[in-house]
């Protein structure tokens, strides 16, 4: 909300140190988002002193003036204004200045005389409609002073962040009360004086206005006044300036008054053209009711709106809806140049419905913003009176004696709101704040904020009545906040909780996370983060099967179509990062992410979430170095990282099972595997299918894996079992088996494990060799180094030979292997 300090200072003393004032506002809960010195846009416009003024030799109305603008020499300006004269001070736009309307001041010649600038009217500076002549500045204006500075002396406008709990501060008067409380200074409310100016005239018109409020919840109060004989036209300068200062464009005098009262008291008003809502009998019959579903209304902004029954309308029995309650008036009944009679609505509408109406229609206004935060139903009659009196003052006319008793207002107020009566326990407050904030300060602060405070029999307890304009103060705790913020949070001493029995622990999931991060880091892989959003075709592009991933979770209001869903796999995000890196000339990419994937289920409000660990490897670990050769990533880099994770998490019974093209279409056939721990599927690893990689504009091969974090957490053991360090020497034997390509390493290893007996300690594959001539077509030689050892003695070579021979025979028999010399 914008607040003009000049306007504010009519009601409360505004500190002269603006910076200190803003700091104090910030600290007490009113954020200052901007400080605007009015006219700051007018660089190059300065205060000038007209030294001489002569008639233009070639014109009958222009003058040639010499103006001192603070430079060494006065500048020559050709000026056509009638009120220009020697000895006055005027605003001078010098060369280079840009006036409102993007009007750039240049050196020019007017009828042969050079002009080095322009003397300005108020209107030319965007300061109002007065264009009768040059703006004559006060004599004490300082020559050469930038006009922005000069006007800053007149007004500073603060842009305030009024939090949603403070509807009372959304007005100049409400803010004046706040400033009064901040500085413990008196403030004045102009309401009663303004309302007292109301004079009624004419005959009593008992039937001029009839109001029916169908639902007191939707509309707690509705009042109307009638003003006859107004002359719609421009507003007086003072009002235009006040509204302009806070960024409000002047419309006409009647509409401007409704805005002026809105900003002054926070009371939204609406002026109808009375003659457009009267029926044939001359009665304005206002019905406040729920809109009908599908009912139509053209609002003031010219939009045709289709309404729903959740919205509230102001209607007449003849015309149907004429205004959208609390949000915007209707176009058909608006005040125009031709309007002479006005029905002035001063009402209160339900906050929640007003908010929903605004959101459903995407229509937000100064009125709706105040109604949805809560407008005080008390004092409506006085604010209405003040508004009517001000309309008469600026637009003429008379306020009619409507109502059965001719009191000038028809006012329906079915259920006045009640003031909360609260206890304020001083000691409890002091304990909860952690400071002995004095009782006198508490009482004084609450009273300045508009509360009624009384002592009770219990010296420790105050009785407090919250004002109706503070809907945020229904509870004792709310009062605590008020006192604390004005006491100053900085004045509370800092302490630490004394609480016993707190222990900081990490959960199993966090411990597993940390181990995975450490392991992958040690593997040289870098953690990243990508969007949780997904495109609708991500799985198609990736060629990944939907099985087990659930249905896609769809956003109702996505940022864009590429992010219209929640992801079901982390891989596409990582592939986009691969493409990003490659497009920027980075070809060695090692990325992983632990992130959430989402799955929807019919009938469930909340999607199911799973955490996944995904990784992509492209290029190599490093560039060629002077002493290292790069090795392109392949399947086994991915698998190797998984083996490291399995080791660090002590996952039992790890196994990799080949995945067929049918099982995992997103992976390159023959380079795809499933990782299992016992019977539990942990995830997959493989080289991504070249078509999937290409679909994301990346270059392959890209090695990837994606694991289920829950499966990892389930199977992880806190530590590996300890095995005694061997006391006796082991004996190594090598064996190279020539087998068919179809025989897997796993198969041979299993054979060796079962054939090796107790003495076989470990098996290490050290070579895989293919050579059509030497080992045969479709065959491979796999060379293993086997370690035999006994825990309790040194083995003899005879023992080892015997065991090894047996192993070789069994493996050869089981796998059809031949031994290679």
């Amino acid at each position: 909300m914008k607040v003009s300090l000049k306007w504010l200072s009519d009601y409360v003393e505004v500190p002269s140190d603006i910076k200190a004032f803003c700091d104090k506002l910030d600290l007490t809960g009113t954020g200052v988002e901007g400080v605007d010195k009015l006219g700051a846009a007018f660089d190059g416009v300065v205060v000038g002193y007209v030294e001489t003024c002569e008639d233009h030799p070639d014109s009958d109305h222009m003058h040639v003036v010499k103006v001192n603008v603070g430079g060494d020499e006065p500048i020559q300006i050709v000026c056509g204004a009638p009120n220009i004269a020697a000895g006055i001070k005027v605003p001078v736009a010098t060369i280079g200045a840009v006036l409102p309307g993007d009007f750039k001041i240049k050196k020019s010649k007017l009828r042969g005389v050079t002009s080095m600038g322009m003397c300005c009217s108020k209107r030319e500076l965007g300061m109002g409609t007065d264009h009768e002549g040059i703006w004559v500045l006060p004599e004490d204006a300082q020559i050469g002073q930038p006009i922005a500075d000069f006007m800053g002396l007149i007004d500073t406008v603060l842009d305030l962040e009024i939090t949603p709990n403070r509807p009372d501060s959304l007005s100049v008067v409400g803010f004046a009360r706040e400033v009064g409380a901040m500085y413990a200074k008196p403030w004045t409310n102009p309401l009663q004086d303004m309302a007292a100016k109301l004079e009624l005239a004419g005959e009593v018109e008992p039937n001029a206005v009839k109001i029916d409020v169908a639902d007191a919840v939707r509309c707690p109060r509705y009042s109307a006044r009638v003003i006859h004989g107004v002359k719609v036209g421009p507003s007086p300068d003072w009002m235009v300036e006040r509204l302009a200062a806070i960024g409000q464009r002047s419309v006409n005098n009647v509409v401007d008054v409704t805005n002026y009262i809105l900003f002054l008291f926070g009371q939204p008003l609406h002026a109808f053209d009375l003659n457009k809502i009267k029926n044939a009998e001359g009665v304005a019959h206002i019905v406040v009711r729920a809109a009908e579903d599908g009912e139509k209304l053209t609002t003031l902004d010219g939009e045709h709106r289709k309404l729903t029954s959740d919205m509230t309308v102001i209607s007449t029995p003849d015309q149907g809806a004429v205004a959208l309650a609390g949000v915007m008036g209707g176009l058909d009944t608006e005040v125009t140049e031709e309007t002479t009679d006005i029905l002035l609505e001063t009402a209160v509408f339900e906050p929640g419905r007003t908010s929903r109406t605004s959101r459903n229609l995407g229509l937000f206004s100064e009125s709706s913003m105040r109604y949805e935060r809560g407008v005080d139903d008390h004092g409506v009659e006085a604010r209405s009176a003040a508004a009517a009196a001000l309309i008469v003052e600026v637009a003429g006319g008379t306020v009619a004696r409507i109502g059965e008793d001719g009191c000038g207002i028809v006012d329906v107020w079915p259920a006045p709101s009640e003031q909360p009566h609260l206890q304020f326990r001083v000691k409890r407050f002091q304990a909860m704040m952690g400071a002995d904030i004095p009782r006198d300060f508490i009482v004084d602060t609450l009273e300045r904020l508009g509360c009624e405070v009384a002592q009770t029999e219990d010296a420790d307890v105050l009785s407090v009545v919250s004002p109706t304009f503070r809907p945020d103060l229904p509870r004792e705790i709310d009062l605590y906040e008020e006192v604390l913020r004005l006491y100053g949070m900085d004045n509370i001493p800092t302490t630490l909780p004394a609480g016993r029995g707190r222990i900081g622990v990490r959960t199993n999931a966090q411990l597993v996370d940390a181990k995975i991060h450490r392991t992958l880091s040690a593997c040289g892989i870098n953690e990243t983060m990508t969007y949780s959003f997904a495109a609708g075709d991500d799985l198609d592009k990736l060629r990944m099967k939907e099985d087990g991933l659930g249905e896609a979770v769809e956003l109702i209001n996505p940022m864009n179509s590429e992010q219209a869903f929640m992801r079901r796999t982390v891989v596409p995000g990582l592939l986009r990062s691969v493409a990003h890196n490659q497009a920027h000339g980075v070809s060695n990419i090692q990325l992983y992410e632990i992130g959430t994937v989402f799955a929807a289920h019919e009938g469930d409000r909340k999607p199911k979430e799973r955490r996944k660990l995904a990784c992509v490897l492209a290029g190599a670990m490093d560039d060629k170095g002077w002493n290292t050769d790069p090795r392109a990533f392949d399947f086994f880099d991915g698998k190797g990282a998984l083996e490291a994770i399995a080791r660090e998490l002590a996952l039992p019974k790890i196994r990799f099972k080949a995945l067929s093209a049918e099982d995992a279409p997103h992976l390159q056939p023959g380079r795809a595997a499933e990782m299992l721990s016992g019977g539990d599927v942990i995830g997959w690893v493989g080289e991504l299918h070249p078509l999937a990689v290409a679909a994301y504009d990346a270059e392959g091969p890209v090695v990837a894996f994606e694991l289920d974090m829950a499966a990892l957490e389930r199977n992880a053991r806190p530590a590996r079992d300890y095995v005694d360090v061997p006391q006796f020497p082991g004996v190594e034997r090598d064996a190279a088996f020539v087998v068919d390509e179809a025989v897997t390493c796993e198969k041979i290893m299993q054979c060796m494990q079962s054939a090796g007996g107790k003495l076989l300690e470990s098996v290490h594959l050290f070579d895989v060799y293919r050579d059509a001539e030497r080992v045969g077509e479709g065959k491979k030689s796999m060379a293993f180094s086997l370690t035999y050892r006994a825990a309790d003695r040194t083995l003899t070579s005879e023992e080892v030979d015997k065991a090894h021979e047996k192993l070789v025979t069994k493996v050869s028999k089981a796998t059809g292997a031949e031994m290679r010399g």
Binding site: P164, M432, M489, R502, G504, N557, G625
Partner: protein, 360 residues
């Protein structure tokens, strides 16, 4: 020539040969030639038996002297040569130590995770546990149980991503839904208080979502760390002290904090906390008098929102506000990352650019 003289001659020759041996191999040849099985001195020693008795003692004595002298000379020469050879070998093996080391890539932690780790460690040290929650939430946990009922104006403070509600229920406002992406980690407060009895000391880091267009200073997904304390006798001073300690740990012992009154639906009283600017030391201007750009001349950097837990929130989770009090706070991790590392464009955090990631 007497044998003794021959031995002396042999001795002299052997010592000369030893001295002349250029390397350990040549020295070994000398040793073999003199002391080997067929060595010259060995010959004399073997021939001792054939000598007349009266010569035997003297020759034997001389031969022993010669043998000791040769052996000693051999040992000395060997040591000297070995030393020289080692020096020569090491000399030959010298490298240009300014050549780069053999590449050992250690992976890096993402900047945001790193900061979350740092924050978690500080609070673990104060006896807090680390909790977590889901990223998709219901309206109830994200708003309602946090004292922001339907249509509450505070909901407008955050622009929410809504999810299609698969229960088929319709929201009162078109385009909204009771299923959403959490806009704040504060929902974890409610879950925690539902599942645990006080004393409660937790923090909850996590991803949150708000409908902002990604630009240098906004992301539609970012991270918060929520904190919650519920215990007997917790005061606003405790809140201040805790966060002041945190800021000093996180940003440095010289940093100050200040608390500005603010509004959040789920805390009362509520505040925003600032930490003094590390660039200008809180003065708002640099040594050259220019306005500090980091804090825009204010001397303060906004760092988190906080407050005492609103009794209405206790109402949702059945904790008696007359018995317990507590505080809650929430901070933006990306904001802290920017303050610590001057990241010029938040979008870099989600691009996965190796040149960015490898710096942390």
């Amino acid at each position: 020539m007497a044998i003794v003289d021959e031995l002396n001659e042999l001795n002299a020759q052997a010592l000369r040969d030893i001295e002349a041996a250029a390397d350990t191999a040549a020295l070994e040849e000398v040793r073999v030639a003199v002391l080997g099985k067929k060595g010259t001195l060995t010959g004399y020693l073997r021939g001792m038996g054939q000598l007349p008795k009266e010569e035997r003692a003297e020759v034997g004595k001389t031969a022993n002297i010669v043998r000791n002298a040769v052996e000693s000379a051999l040992a000395n020469r060997k040591e000297a040569l070995a030393k020289a050879e080692l020096l020569a070998k090491m000399d030959a093996e010298a490298v240009d130590i300014t050549l780069p080391g053999r590449g050992q890539q250690v992976g890096t932690r993402h900047l945001i995770s790193g900061i979350i780790d740092e924050i978690s460690d500080i609070f673990l040290g104060m006896g807090y546990s680390v909790a977590s929650g889901t990223e998709a939430e219901t309206d109830y946990y994200n708003f309602e149980a946090l004292n922001a009922p339907a249509d509450h104006p505070s909901r407008g403070m955050q622009d929410t991503f809504y999810l299609v509600d698969r229960t088929g229920e319709q929201a009162a406002v078109k385009g909204e839904s009771a299923a959403l992406l959490r806009t704040q980690t504060s929902g974890v407060q409610v879950h925690t208080m539902e599942e645990n009895k006080p004393p409660i000391y937790i923090i909850a880091p996590g991803k949150v979502y708000r409908r902002d267009v990604a630009d240098p200073s906004h992301l539609p997904q970012f991270h918060q760390v929520e904190g919650l304390v519920v215990d007997k006798g917790i005061s606003f001073g405790d809140l201040k002290g805790t966060l002041d300690y945190f800021c000093k740990q996180m940003f440095g012992p010289d940093r100050k904090t200040r608390f500005r009154a603010h509004y959040f639906p789920f805390t009362e009283p509520s505040a925003e906390a600032d930490v003094s600017c590390g660039v200008c030391g809180g003065s708002g201007h640099l040594h050259n008098g220019e306005k500090c750009r980091m804090c825009k001349g204010t001397g303060w950097l906004e760092i988190l929102g906080c407050g005492m837990v609103d009794p209405n929130v206790y109402g949702f989770v059945d904790i008696d506000p007359e018995e317990y009090s507590g505080f809650a706070f929430g901070m933006g991790v990306e904001r802290i990352a920017c303050l610590k590392y001057n990241v010029p464009d938040l979008r870099m955090l989600l691009e996965g650019d190796m040149r960015f990631l490898r710096q942390f």
